[in-house]
Each structure stands twice: as structure tokens, then as C-alpha cells.
């Protein structure tokens, strides 16, 4: 069971790596690999050594056949011991590095800059556990063996504590619930790996090098034969680690699936966008010239009959149509943005003004944690992107409860500047959510709507190296979160 679990975790981390191929996934895959190597060598040691009852054997190995397979593997004590040492001493280091990679609070950032120092202790211990070095070191006597065993155990638990403290520190430093939830799910992968490891970490490779020697056993004891581990407690701890492992496995699977879905959705959208852009371009150029000709003709007629009401109305319709065509054309070419460092507040204010020009009585409640937030952005495009989402929120809110305002909140968090727009309307169904980013999709029956707003907003945000997330609101409603990279933080493509 335990073997199956760590194998599954390893395979999932490799699948994740194949999909995302980024620095963090490499670290995560290496962490899972080191855990697998350690557990694999530990199980082989236990299979060869014996001393476990039938129940524990089933929990660890599954069938008797698997245990026998482990027992009869041709491996010398030096090979098995060193395999265990590599797994045991690389895991804590990799766990700390992965935790630091996910953390952005000040102390973690300082530690990240000096991460080379984290290698010193594990490398020294790893060298000490090279079979020939190990034998030379313990030759003087028991005290050296004990010192080595306790030093390595201290390193192991110190680094595990550091990794857990880093994750907890980061979790505490996150204020926005959306980020906290996401971080909690992702950090549960590491916590579950740490728990599985911590339970077996007492297994020192020295026990394997000194397999039949009674020196080690009587000096330091046999960890898995401890009387504290009654079969019931043993089962509880192991099943507990299996459950934590499952949480980690499911989190990792979900993480991989989300990435995969996002990629697939992106490809589908690109195809639709490409087709739409061609269609819009043909439509725009074919119609615009005739619209301009018609405008000139109307202007000429207005000079002749300046007080004609119908001609004035025709001129306004013509101008509006021309403006809408321009907007459509702009929306289909929204990937072009000119970025510069600008304050976010005016961008938001402009978006609010635009929405209020359409809905003067709309309630919009502005919340900002930091008025001085700056972003690298194309101000016009970004304010239009925010306005599109805000407009939809306002319209949904008016439909459901006009007295209640839409909330517009912006703040900095971890690597991102977030702009959250929340309404308390009817919300968006799962099926509809897949379609809202498509060009020409609209759920409204208005003739004023091209269905390009959300598509435009998404493209603009992506051209700012950001993303838009959707969350349902408890009790009904929608919350859209625009995430833009925070200034001064190297872009990594994820938080």
C-alpha cells in the first residue's frame, strides 16, 4: 500500500513535469523521486530484515509475493545503504528548496538569496555516508558512529521543520482568501510528502551498512521494532500517512489537470480567435469604407438641410455604428499592447467612469489596500478590459438586486497585483463558464452587444502576462480576479 502510494506520487509528479516543464515542477519531481528512493530502500531493508507482523507487512508491501520480491533482490549492503542515504539526505534539502520556491515573505526571500548555504550540511553528511568514508569514520569506535547518526538525524528534522515553517509562514502572510486557498492546496502536497518521510526518517543508512552487526541495534535501537509502535498505533500512523499522501496525490493530480485544461482551453480559444479575427477583418474592411462613404453623403446632405431631424438622427446612428466597428476591430487585435509603468488607481477610475456612463445609477464599491500600486500596463487597454468585466458585473447585479453594490477591490499579494470584481447576481454555470471567453459569445439579448468583451479582456490581461480567474460567490454571484505581475518580481508564469 505504502509502496503503491509513493509510486503514484512519483508518477504524478513526473506527469506534472512533462506538462509544465518549469523550475518548480523540476524541484517537486526531484523531491518525490528522493522520497521514492528512500521508501523503496527502506522497504527492501525491512523485507530482508523481517520482524514485522502480517498486518504491518500487508500495509507496507501489499502481498507476500511483493515482500518476497524485495527480499530476494541482489544488492549488497553498501549499495542498499547508499541508496537509502541518497534518498534520506537529499529529500529534506529538496523539500526546503521547493518550499522556499513557493514562499515570498521577506525572510524567505532572504533565505532564497543565500540558498547555496543550504547545500553545505547535506553534502557533508552525504559524503560521510559514502560506504568507504563511513567505514573509515566509524573505525575509531561507537562514539563516532553515534555522533554521525545523531548529526544526520538532527539535519533531517531541522530541514523538515524549516520547510514546514516556511510553508506556514507563507500561509500566514497571505491575506487574500483566493491566494490562501490556492497556496494551501499546493502546500498540502509538500506537507503530505514531509509527513510520510518524517515517519520513516529514523531509518539511518548505518543500520543497513551494519545489517547483521549487533552494535548499531543495541546502541541506537531498531526504529520499526519500537514497542511504542503497537500494531494499532502503527496502523494508525501508516494509514494516516497514506491518507495525507492521497491528499497530496489528489492535489498534484488536480494541479496537473488544471494546467492541462488551461492549455487545451488556450489552444481552442486561439483557433476560435484566429477564425474570428479573419472574419472580423473582412467584415470591418468591407463595411467601413461604405460606412465612411455613407457618412460623407450624410454630412453633405446636412449642410443642405441643417435642421432636418431625420438627417441628424441618421448621422448619430452612422457615428455610433462606426465607433462600434472600430471597437470590434480593436477587440479582434487586442494582443498588441504598449506597456509602461503606470499607477493602477487612474486605470480603475477610468473603467468605473466608463461603466457609469452607461449605468449612471450603478452601485460600485471601491476597496483598495494600497492606493500607490503601480503596474506595467497599457493603461487604455487595461482600463477597457476592467470596464468590460465590471460592466457585466453591474448588469448582473442590477438584474438581481439593484440596491446592492458591485465590489471592486485591488491589492498586491505575493507575486501579483490582483483586481477582484464581485457581484451578487445569479452567477455563472459550469458549462457557460467554458464559453464566456470565446469570441462572439454573449448570454445577453441586446443588439448593442458583439459578445467580444470578455474575449477582449482576457487577451489584454494575457498580453500583460497576467490571467483572469473565476470564483463563484456563496449565496449566488460571481467574482472575477484579474492577476497582473507585481513590479520588481521576476516573471515565472505562476504564483
Amino acid at each position: 500500500m505504502l509502496l503503491a502510494l509513493v509510486s503514484l506520487i512519483l508518477v504524478t509528479s513526473l506527469v506534472l513535469l512533462a506538462i509544465r516543464r518549469d523550475h518548480r515542477c523540476i524541484l517537486l519531481a526531484l523531491t518525490c523521486l528522493s522520497l521514492f528512493v528512500f521508501i523503496f530502500s527502506t522497504l527492501m531493508y525491512i523485507a530482508k530484515k523481517g520482524g514485522i507482523g502480517r498486518e504491518v507487512s500487508t500495509i507496507l508491501f501489499g502481498t507476500r509475493g511483493i515482500r518476497t520480491w524485495f527480499m530476494y533482490r541482489i544488492v549488497t549492503f553498501e549499495q542498499l545503504g547508499f541508496m537509502s542515504a541518497v534518498g534520506r539526505y537529499s529529500f529534506p534539502l529538496l523539500l526546503v528548496l521547493t518550499s522556499l520556491d513557493m514562499a515570498w515573505f521577506p525572510l524567505a526571500l532572504k533565505a532564497k538569496r543565500r540558498s547555496w548555504a543550504l547545500f553545505i550540511l547535506p553534502v557533508l553528511i552525504m559524503v560521510a555516508y559514502i560506504p568507504s568514508v563511513f567505514r573509515a569514520l566509524i573505525r575509531p569506535g561507537e562514539s563516532v558512529l553515534m555522533a554521525l547518526v545523531y548529526a544526520s538525524r538532527t539535519y533531517v528534522y531541522l530541514y523538515i521543520a524549516m520547510a514546514v515553517a516556511t510553508l506556514v509562514g507563507e500561509l500566514v502572510s497571505i491575506t487574500l482568501p483566493f491566494f490562501r486557498r490556492r497556496f494551501f492546496t499546493r502546500s498540502s502536497i509538500l506537507i503530505s510528502l514531509a509527513l510520510i518521510y518524517a515517519f520513516y526518517a529514523v531509518q539511518d543508512p548505518a543500520q543497513i551498512y551494519m545489517f547483521y552487526s549487533s552494535d548499531y541495534m543495541f546502541l541506537l535501537g531498531m526504529w520499526y521494532l519500537s514497542p511504542a509502535l503497537s500494531p494499532a498505533l502503527y496502523a494508525l500512523v501508516i494509514v494516516g500517512s497514506v491518507l495525507f499522501g492521497l491528499v497530496g496525490f489528489v492535489s498534484m493530480l488536480r494541479y496537473a489537470r488544471t494546467t492541462f485544461d488551461e492549455r487545451r482551453e488556450e489552444i481552442t480559444l486561439r483557433r476560435s480567435a484566429s477564425l474570428a479575427a479573419k472574419g472580423v477583418s473582412m467584415f470591418f474592411h468591407g463595411t467601413k469604407n461604405e460606412l465612411i462613404a455613407q457618412g460623407l453623403l450624410v454630412n453633405r446632405l446636412m449642410k443642405k438641410y441643417p435642421h432636418d431631424e431625420d438627417l441628424n438622427r441618421l448621422s448619430r446612428i452612422n457615428q455610433e455604428l462606426s465607433h462600434r466597428l472600430d471597437s470590434l476591430h480593436k477587440a479582434s487585435r487586442s494582443e498588441i499592447s504598449t506597456l509602461s509603468i503606470i499607477p493602477l488607481s487612474p486605470v480603475i477610475a477610468k473603467a468605473v467612469d466608463k461603466v457609469r456612463s452607461h449605468h449612471p445609477d450603478a452601485g460600485i464599491e471601491l476597496v483598495s489596500a494600497d492606493e500607490d500600486i503601480q503596474v506595467l500596463a497599457d493603461g487604455d487597454n487595461l482600463s477597457e478590459a476592467v470596464a468590460n468585466i465590471l460592466m457585466n458585473a453591474v448588469e448582473a447585479q442590477i438584474e438581481a438586486d439593484p440596491a446592492r453594490p458591485v465590489e471592486l477591490e485591488y491589492a498586491t499579494e505575493r507575486l501579483w497585483v490582483s483586481i477582484r470584481i464581485t457581484d451578487h447576481g445569479k452567477g455563472i454555470g459550469r458549462r457557460e463558464l467554458r464559453q464566456i471567453w470565446q469570441p462572439f459569445y454573449t448570454s445577453k439579448s441586446s443588439s448593442q452587444n458583439w459578445g467580444m468583451g470578455m474575449y477582449f479582456s482576457r487577451n489584454v490581461v494575457r498580453s500583460h502576462l497576467g490571467s483572469i480567474r473565476y470564483e463563484g460567490v456563496e449565496g449566488g454571484g460571481s467574482s472575477f480576479i484579474i492577476l497582473l505581475p507585481k513590479l520588481g518580481v521576476p516573471y515565472s508564469g505562476e504564483d
Binding site: 520482524g51 549488497t76 551494519m210 535501537g221 521494532l225 514497542p227
Partner: protein
């Protein structure tokens, strides 16, 4: 998510309950004794015979078997309290001499350790042919001792061969796959190797070869504290063991069948191990205790450990002949 967590917690409690049940202490008023054994006929034959014939139940004892690979680990497990009684082979007796555990019953004098060579790899009956060969052995055990004596008999040392430290199971796999030229191992691994390789494999030396230097005695042991606190239980257990020894002497085939079932091994492999030792009945053993034969064997064995033990330690300090005699009454 909450639903999933709740289901996981229910599963946790349920699974723990199932596994916790497996460790119940008492069944039908019987006292449970956790007994450590090794995966061979010598370790199990009298024990399983006693269990299967109901001899232990008659003594109010239920035996719970736990498998181990070696004697020192059994003693370590007994020290930690997870095992009550254990079986040890020759090598672990030095720990008894050094006061780690006490012997409460003699098992047998064995001939299970052997150095095996492969003709196709250039090994002959002459131990000097082992020079430069790849040899697998289990360091710190009787396997290492018999290998050293074999090499010594040809004027060689461990430096003259390429020695690989492995466990008994890995040595078996490595020999049968042809990865080694020779090995030092113990029964039943020695039988498995000889069976698997046919005429190509042969015994270079075994315990009989060095009978003048050591007696390969196997025994049943307890912690001194446990023996003091459970003297009555220990005597009753020994009585059950004696009944098993007597049944085994008369019913070798049936005993081999039962041992094979416990080990999950083939009957033939187990039956072949009956030649590993001279198997005594309880009466024969008591007679050898009374005439001093068994004490002499322990004395010879103690001296064979050389500087690893204090040779002046009296055998009676670590062998409880009183328990053996009381159980025979």
C-alpha cells in the same frame, strides 16, 4: 471537499480498527506469547509441531509468530519489548554470553552453515581455489565465521578474495543467477542453492568440517527480566516446546508439511532440511543436560567466539538449565 475529508476520516478509523483487531491480546482465555522465528525448518519444527498438536494450548498459551532474518535483530526486538521469546542460531549466542539475553531451552546442534562453490566458476573441493573469487557472505554472522575458517584452512584471508556483504536471501539470488563464484550461507538457503544449481554447486566446507573448533548450537532465548516476571509462563512454554520436539521425532513428514505451510515454501525444500541437525527428543535432551554434554557444547561454542566474549563467563550465567529441568518434571 468537506465530504471527501469526512469520508477519508471514516476510512482511517475503519482501517485502523481492522488492523487493531489483528493484535488482540487474548483469545479464549489463553495467554499470548509473541515468538520470533527464522525462515527455516530448524527454527520452526518443534514450535509448529507444538502449535499444531495443541501442546501450547494445553499449557494455556497462544503462540503468535513473527518472522525475522537474524538472531541479533530478534534480541533487539526482545529488548524493545515487541517480542517475548525468540530462536537464535550460533552467531547470536555471543550476545547471550555478553549478557544480552538468557537461553531457556536447547534447540539442536546444527550443520546448516556451509561454504558453497561453483565448479563452472573454477572452484574446487580445495579451499585454496577460492583465492581471487567473488564470494557473498553475511557479515557478523556464522556465515562470516565459516568463510573465515575455510579461507584460513587454505592459508588465505578475506583480503585474498572479493567479498560482497549481503543478506542471506540476496546471496541465494546472486548464487543461483551466477553472479558469484562462491558463498557462505546457512540452511535453508544452502539447500535452495544446491537444489537450483544441481551438480555445478557443491559444499566446500560446513559445520562438521570445523566441529573441533565450534559447536553450532541453536537455542531458545528470553530477556532475563521477562523470565523473572513470567517464570511460570516460561516453564509452560518450554513444556509445549518439549511436546513439539517429541512429536517431531515421530512425525517428520507431517512436521515438514506444517513448517512448509507457515513458510509458504515447497514441502520438498523443507523436508530436505531435516538433515541440518541431530534432532533430540525431550528425554534425550534432559539426559544430555544431566550428563553435562550440553553444557560442554555451550562451553566449546563460547570459546569459539574468541575475544568477542569474556571466556571466563560461566555457561550457567546465561543458560537456564533449571527451566529446562523443571519443564521436564
Amino acid at each position: 471537499m468537506k465530504k471527501t475529508i469526512a469520508m477519508l476520516l471514516i476510512a482511517l478509523v475503519a482501517i485502523t480498527g481492522v488492523f487493531a483487531q489483528g493484535s488482540s491480546e487474548d483469545a479464549g482465555g489463553l495467554e499470548t506469547v509473541r515468538v520470533a522465528y527464522m525462515t527455516n525448518y530448524a527454527s520452526l519444527c518443534s514450535l509448529v509441531a507444538g502449535m499444531e498438536t495443541g501442546a501450547f494450548e494445553e499449557q494455556g498459551i497462544q503462540v503468535e509468530l513473527v518472522e525475522f532474518a537474524d538472531g541479533p535483530t530478534i534480541i533487539a526486538a526482545m529488548e524493545s519489548g515487541s517480542i517475548d521469546i525468540g530462536y537464535i542460531g550460533h552467531g547470536a549466542h555471543k550476545l547471550c554470553v555478553n549478557g544480552r539475553a538468557k537461553i531457556f531451552a536447547f534447540s539442536h546442534v546444527g550443520n546448516g552453515d556451509a561454504v558453497i562453490g561453483l565448479r563452472s566458476h573454477g572452484v574446487t573441493e580445495d579451499p585454496s581455489s577460492l583465492k581471487g573469487k567473488s564470494i557473498g557472505y553475511a557479515s557478523g554472522t556464522s556465515s562470516e565465521q565459516i568463510l573465515k575458517w575455510t579461507l584460513e584452512s587454505a592459508g588465505l584471508t578475506m583480503d585474498d578474495v572479493t567479498a560482497y556483504e549481503m543478506d542471506a536471501a540476496a546471496i541465494t539470488s546472486a548464487m543461483t543467477s551466477g553472479s558469484l563464484d562462491a558463498c557462505a550461507n546457512w540452511s535453508p538457503a544452502t539447500f535452495t542453492i544446491l537444489d537450483a544449481l544441481g551438480d555445478d554447486a557443491f559444499v566446500v566446507a560446513d559445520n562438521v568440517t570445523f566441529s573441533d573448533r565450534s559447536a553450532s548450537v541453536a537455542s531458545w532465548i528470553v530477556m532475563d527480566k521477562w523470565a523473572q516476571e513470567n517464570r511460570d509462563l516460561l516453564v509452560r512454554f518450554t513444556k509445549g516446546l518439549y511436546a513439539g520436539m517429541d512429536y517431531r521425532a515421530e512425525n517428520i513428514e507431517q512436521t515438514a508439511e506444517w513448517v512448509a505451510q507457515v513458510l509458504g515454501a515447497g514441502y520438498d525444500t523443507v523436508y530436505a532440511q531435516r538433515g541440518d541437525a541431530e534432532w533430540l527428543t525431550a528425554d534425550e535432551m534432559i539426559a544430555q543436560i544431566e550428563d553435562g554434554t550440553i553444557e560442554k557444547m555451550y562451553e566449546v561454542q563460547k570459546l569459539s567466539f574468541g575475544s568477542e566474549v569474556d571466556p571466563s563467563t560461566p555457561v550457567s550465567d546465561y543458560v537456564m538449565f533449571d527451566i529446562m529441568l523443571e519443564a521436564a518434571e
